[in-house]
Structure formats: C-alpha cells, structure tokens
Symmetry: C2
Subunit: 78 residues, 2 copies
C-alpha cells in the first residue's frame, strides 16, 4: 500500500525557506506570487495490513515535528 | 489561488534521506515498511490569473531539479 504523508508548517510559523523561494521567484520575473510555504512529502510503501493508528504513530514519533508542523495522511490506490 | 507542487525523486535515483527515515522507522519498531522516499511539498498562493504555463515554468526553472526530480502541479479549490 502506498501512503503519502504531507507535512507542512503550521500557520504562523516562520518559513525562511519559503521566503527565499518567494524572493527567487520574483527575481526570475514571476509576478502574482503572494505566498510560498515549503513542506515535505514522504512516500511510504507499507504492508497492506498497516493500521491507520500505526501510520499516525509514525508521523507523531518521527516524521513530523508536531510542535510546528501539521501532517496529513493520504492513502494512494495501488 | 492555492497551488500545491509535489516534488519527488525520479525512480532509480538514490534517496539517502529516505533510507535514513526507513531505518529509523524500523528502529522504532514499525514493521512492514518496504520503502520510503522523501520529497518536497511547495504550497504557493498565486494570483488567480496565473497560467498553467507560468506554473510549469516556475517548476522547471527553480522549484524542481528536473534532472533527478519529477513534479506534479495540483490546484486546490479556494
């Protein structure tokens, strides 16, 4: 089973990487960009019997820093 | 308009970060994980009139390294 974990910074948390990308886009002449936030995308290939609970635990314990980040678990049809 | 850019390594490209995460998950006792790949998730807030062409150009020129990475553009309903 393929699972995608989307990890993004919580609203209000400063994102220097996103600001750098925003700046770079403007320098390249791309107008109309209002905001940029950079997060992570973790693609897991796990056994089909893996429970939702186990996936949440993986995020809480290792993949995401829940103090400053939100995560979203998306199961991808195989 | 909110746009999410999903950037992942092309198949076959070594992913040391993914291997480290895989290893760490196993050390924490999570079984059944077969593969882990780590990519990036870039959330853009752009003007509504931004064309698909401009979004592709942003990816090609700055956001993704198309030699080793694939990107996927997803428009999110506002």
């Amino acid at each position: 089973m393929k699972v995608r974990i989307h990890i993004s910074l919580k609203p209000g948390v400063l994102d220097p990487q996103g600001r750098a990308v925003h700046h770079a886009l403007e320098s390249l002449g791309f107008g109309g960009v209002e905001d940029v936030r950079v997060g992570r995308l973790i693609e897991l290939d796990v056994a089909d019997e893996t429970s939702d609970e186990a996936l949440s635990q993986m995020c809480e314990k290792l993949l995401a820093n829940t103090v400053i980040e939100n995560y979203r678990i998306e199961k991808v049809a195989a």
